[in-house]
């Protein structure tokens, strides 16, 4: 186990470095010149050139990358070109909000999705099943912007139950979590249903029933744990799926997370911020997958970590 963890950590570090390299290459290839962006529209060619020198943009690619990497290893993520603030400070100030939102969304997704999936599996091929299936697809196919505005409009503006966007209290968290989670709930519900049906079909379930265990004991004691396996794998994926979702949700609800930061930075090619955010999300994804792989054997003891 210890060996496995060590190996995974080592591999993860390699992956992260690989991500920095790939991202840097992509940013290098974009013809947009950060110096021109900073210098703005009224600048002279000389100002632009000055800025290029100061940012080290005239250095060859490898030198620029090396400078970035060494800075990174010292914990310095650089300074935003357009905001002149340290990237670390910017990300750090916004990260808690995004993490909070993700937790809220995962709770919503699991609560709604797993329930839907379970009910659908137990009521297979009935009208309930079909309508829950349609509902799942609605969740997955609906643009999150629209869901967000709809929820805001109905529950915040008309009914006044929740504040209109913003950050700070539990009440602020409900609607954004639901919006972000609605999409994932659709995925989880379908996966849960399919996984559950698969498990319920298997002989060991019949054996358990034959042994006299009650229905709910079989369900929660034997069926559910097995069905959860692919779900665990999905939680690792979720973080990746969230990355695009949080941009929209944070913007609609005025939630001060890194999604807003990332989108602005991407539009304006603010390289240091893009690098910083990519790294942070890469870290989260790699970590998520790692944890999912670690937890899997706890659910299914047959899986060995090799």
């Amino acid at each position: 186990m210890g060996g496995y963890i060590l190996r995974r950590v080592f591999q993860s570090v390699l992956i992260l470095i690989g991500i920095t390299f790939l991202t840097f290459v992509l940013l290098y290839l974009i013809p947009a010149d950060p110096a021109r962006q900073i210098a703005g529209r009224s600048a002279t060619a000389q100002t632009v050139e000055n800025i290029r020198e100061q940012l080290g943009l005239n250095l060859p690619f490898y030198q620029q990358y090396f400078r970035y990497l060494t800075g990174l290893l010292q914990g310095d993520l650089g300074r935003s070109y357009l905001q002149k603030t340290e990237v670390g400070a910017l990300i750090w100030s916004r990260l808690p909000a995004t993490l909070l939102l993700m937790v809220g969304a995962i709770v919503c997704e699991l609560a709604i999705g797993l329930t839907m999936g379970l009910v659908a599996a137990l009521r297979r091929n009935t009208a309930t099943d079909t309508s829950l299936m349609v509902l799942s697809f609605v969740g997955v196919s609906s643009p999150q912007f629209v869901i967000g505005i709809l929820l805001l409009y109905v529950f915040s503006v008309q009914l006044g139950w929740f504040p209109i966007g913003g950050y700070g209290t539990f009440m602020h968290m409900v609607l954004p979590s639901l919006t972000l989670g609605f999409l994932g709930a659709g995925w989880y519900s379908r996966m849960m249903r399919s996984s559950m049906i698969d498990v319920l079909r298997q002989d060991f379930i019949r054996t358990a029933r034959a042994k006299g265990l009650k229905r709910w004991q079989v369900l929660f004691g034997h069926a559910l744990p097995n069905a959860l396996l692919p779900i665990i794998a999905m939680i690792g994926i979720d973080i990746g799926l969230f990355m695009s979702g949080i941009v929209v949700v944070e913007s609609v609800f005025g939630w001060p997370g890194i999604g807003q930061l990332a989108w602005q930075a991407i539009q304006r090619v603010d390289i240091p911020i893009i690098m910083g955010v990519t790294l942070v999300s890469a870290f989260a994804i790699v970590l998520g997958n790692f944890l999912a792989d670690l937890i899997a054997p706890l659910i299914d003891p047959r899986i060995k970590l090799r």
Partner: protein
């Protein structure tokens, strides 16, 4: 899992020959009402895409003067324009019909490739373990962490935007989810006793893969694959916005939604109808996939 209850071995399946497509699949498929419905749904959409120039009432790019009110607001569904018009006075129905072309290519082809590649990678990694697993899964991690939006912007700046580029990007980025899930399930499946028994008996690896592992994965693949239709169609819209993919005025269901989502309190039909189209496509394929799986799966005991 509790020690006293274990999955049984399934000895009978070991000795039968490789599964052939049972005769009468088509007939059995058609017996299921939902399958017929799904087939019809998908058929209509594909038909609309293929025969668009004949089916669409108007030119999707034509901006009608009568298509907007005097102040420039779009028209709701009505007599001339059955599903209403968009913000430039173009007929929504015609745009949806032509949009089916793009969305099918994205949702079915690009997504299909992603599904196939993902499943392939996941199975290989989960079944063969060892260095194959390490290399494949770490590569998957890398691709999962890869900034797709950034790739889109870079490609947009470097190349002429086209449907094929965005299809490629989507396929490149979307296979990872499938790979992870399939991998986890395959890991679990390959440790089951009947598989271990088979291997001990020297049965060919690929035979085991195809006859025992794959059928159990089919339901997951169908679920993920069809849900992926929706997400890829919507993702295509975001990528087009960033500059790769179809450029205006070419319609796609995703970009119709994307362009008009801020207007949805004043012109909800612009979001509602393309949304329904996407749901219909994904649902249709899902129902079809479910039905096909049930019909083809030899382990089904007809107990539904």
């Amino acid at each position: 899992m509790p020690a006293d209850v274990k999955p049984e071995a399934m000895p009978d399946t070991v000795k039968t020959a490789a599964p052939e497509i049972p005769k009468g699949v088509w007939r059995r498929l058609l017996e299921r009402k939902l399958a017929v419905f799904a087939l019809a749904l998908v058929g209509v959409i594909v038909g609309a895409a293929v025969f668009a120039p004949f089916v669409a009432p108007f030119d999707p790019a034509e901006q009608f003067f009568e298509g907007l009110t005097l102040e420039g607001a779009p028209l709701p569904p009505g007599e001339t324009f059955w599903l209403g018009t968009d913000l430039l006075g173009r007929d929504l129905l015609s745009r949806l019909i032509y949009g089916a072309q793009t969305s099918l290519i994205i949702g079915v082809v690009a997504n299909g490739i992603a599904v196939a590649v993902g499943a392939f990678v996941g199975i290989l990694a989960g079944f063969f373990r060892g260095w194959v697993e390490t290399v494949l899964m770490r590569f998957t991690d890398l691709m999962m962490a890869f900034p797709a939006l950034l790739l889109a912007i870079t490609l947009a700046a470097l190349f002429r935007p086209s449907l094929w580029i965005v299809a490629m990007v989507i396929a490149m980025v979307n296979w990872v989810q499938m790979a992870r899930v399939v991998y986890t399930e395959t890991r679990s499946l390959s440790e089951r006793e009947f598989i271990l028994a088979e291997r001990a008996m020297g049965a060919g690896l690929f035979r085991i893969l195809f006859r025992h592992i794959l059928p159990h994965l089919l339901s997951t693949i169908v679920v993920f694959g069809t849900l992926g239709i929706s997400t890829t169609v919507l993702l295509e819209a975001t990528l087009s916005y960033l500059g790769i993919g179809v450029q205006p005025p070419t319609p796609s269901w995703g970009n119709i939604i994307y362009e008009n989502q801020t207007y949805f309190t004043s012109a909800p039909w612009l979001v509602f109808f393309p949304g329904i189209a996407i749901i219909a496509l994904a649902l249709g394929f899902n129902l079809l996939g479910d039905a096909l799986r049930e019909v083809l799966d030899p382990t089904q005991k007809g107990r539904h």
